[in-house]
């Protein structure tokens, strides 16, 4: 079986994928060198790459990336700490559900980035406003998913635990919480996606001292298109890395290992 798999390695898929990338890059290069647009606006690949190299060598990019990541991490942790208890409460008690769900349905549809100018007035330019935006962007999805998950728990589980004499505490820690996990984790995934958009948007608008959004914004002011493109590449790579190495692994280590169906909601 293994032998067969090896010989069936999808070379063709790989070649075509590479061809797609190369095509896009060649089109860009032709466009950049054609002079249709000024070179300052569409820099050739070489310049983008050398700028990327400069940025990595200079090392400031790591501080920018670090502060962006720190904001996301902090915001998500705060959201998590608030959303999980509220979501669980909503899923288990009718009263909590009736209290919080109207609030959720009013605040959830407001795009987090609409709040940025207001947060800037309230919390000042910089870190606090950006972190608040990240919290706003992520907290409602997390609450909503936890709530849905707690409601969707298989009745057989709770009933059998009850019959086997589980007390309230055990019921919560050994049945409800693990049962809700698939939804929490898929919620975390969506929340990360939103937080990632919010942090970049927040940094563009709330201009803290450091951050990936800040580099892009500054580069726009100084017409440094190659810096912008290089930062976009970095943002893309970080997004992929987190998705592949963190969120996917988290799912593999929890939901898939426990044999629960992977819930795919985007």
């Amino acid at each position: 079986m293994n032998e067969k798999n090896k010989s069936n390695f999808p070379w063709r898929t790989l070649y075509r994928g590479l061809a797609g990338f190369c095509c896009a890059l060649v089109i860009w290069e032709i466009f950049a060198r054609s002079g249709l647009y000024s070179k300052a606006l569409t820099p050739p690949l070489w310049e983008v790459l050398s700028r990327l190299k400069d940025m990595l060598e200079d090392g400031q990019i790591f501080i920018h990336t670090g502060s962006t990541m720190l904001r996301v991490l902090l915001g998500l942790s705060i959201s998590f700490a608030i959303a999980i208890p509220i979501g669980m409460a909503m899923g288990t008690s009718r009263n909590a559900e009736r209290t919080f769900s109207p609030l959720l349905s009013v605040l959830m549809p407001i795009p987090s980035l609409a709040w940025v100018p207001l947060f800037v007035l309230w919390f000042g330019i910089g870190n606090l406003a950006t972190i608040m935006v990240v919290i706003y962007a992520s907290i409602f999805t997390l609450t909503y998913n936890t709530w849905t998950g707690a409601r969707a728990i298989n009745q057989v589980w709770t009933k059998s635990a009850f019959v086997m004499g589980a007390n309230k505490n055990q019921m919560f820690w050994y049945v409800m919480l693990p049962g809700t996990m698939p939804y929490v984790i898929s919620g975390l995934r969506i929340a990360f996606g939103r937080a990632w958009i919010a942090v970049i948007g927040g940094e563009l608008l709330a201009s803290p001292d450091w951050g990936l959004g800040k580099i892009i914004f500054d580069a726009g002011e100084y017409l440094e298109t190659e810096t912008m493109l290089a930062s976009l590449v970095i943002i893309g790579l970080i997004g992929i890395a987190i998705e592949k190495f963190f969120l996917r692994r988290l799912e593999a280590a929890t939901i898939e290992r426990w044999g629960m169906a992977q819930s795919t909601t985007n």
Binding site: A19, G20, F21, I110, R194, I197, L204
Partner: protein
């Protein structure tokens, strides 16, 4: 009676928030400009609404959303179907799309300003760009999810390939396409406001919020945010749920 209790309970959190806001605004040590009291916000809302400023802004924001969304809908569904139907297209485009997909659309905003200037054009293009990828991904998954048995049986019964496409592949993929379009619209809506702030369009809800920041008009900002929330609810609940109920739910493909 039960219903009445439900409504009463639903009012409690709002009452608490409104009350604490009011107390904060009236007795807190914050400047009144930054934390206006509720009456003032409501007054501003009514004033802006009756002057027509609010509707004007909402109209141009929705116009941008609609144009951008139409572009992304067409491009996204087209490319998604191509990718789902032809392996060669899928192999070529998928890696490229998977790379661009996780970059937040808003990050391109300054770049689009450099390329297309300020105003409507870059805003619409960016909205279209940012929401296309999720439409592509969902359409692609939808076309892939069409059962080969359906296609094969249609072939055996002598259906032409155009018939197969219009009568089997497209309706079969429709639940995914619709949810892709809904997610695309939501994604577009989520960044549109910020895009307006960064592209300094002439009129728009986002621009109204951003412009009020300079003059510390917190009441205008909050009134605009309230309208934005309202539009968000309408977009989500009314438009898409209606479309889904009329098509995929009615055909029994998805539970309502």
């Amino acid at each position: 009676m039960r219903r009445f209790m439900d409504i009463l309970l639903a009012c409690i959190p709002f009452a608490i928030i409104f009350l604490s806001w009011q107390l904060l605004s009236l007795y807190g040590s914050f400047p009144e400009k930054l934390v206006p009291d509720l009456g003032q916000i409501a007054q501003t809302f009514v004033r802006l609404a009756s002057e027509g400023v609010l509707w004007e802004a909402a109209k141009s924001t929705l116009y941008r959303l609609l144009l951008g969304f139409i572009i992304s809908g067409f491009v996204g569904v087209f490319l998604g179907i191509l990718m789902g139907r032809y392996k060669s297209v899928e192999d070529t485009l998928l890696p490229l799309i998977s790379f661009v997909y996780p970059i937040p659309g808003i990050a391109y905003a300054p770049l689009f300003v450099l390329w297309f200037g300020l105003g409507d054009v870059p805003a619409i293009l960016l909205i279209a760009f940012a929401s296309t990828f999720i439409v592509i991904m969902n359409t692609w998954k939808g076309v892939k999810s069409v059962k080969p048995v359906w296609i094969k049986s249609a072939e055996i019964m002598g259906a032409k390939s155009t018939d197969i496409f219009w009568r089997i592949v497209l309706p079969g993929a429709l639940p995914f396409i619709l949810s892709g379009l809904r997610l695309g619209l939501a994604a577009a809506w989520r960044i549109l406001v910020a895009v307006e702030m960064l592209m300094s369009v002439k009129v728009g809800l986002g621009w109204m919020i951003f412009g009020s920041q300079t003059f510390l008009n917190t009441d205008v900002m909050l009134a605009t945010i309230a309208l934005i929330g309202l539009i968000g609810v309408i977009l989500e609940k009314q438009i898409f749920e209606q479309i889904e109920r009329r098509t995929v739910v009615r055909w029994g493909m998805v539970k309502g």
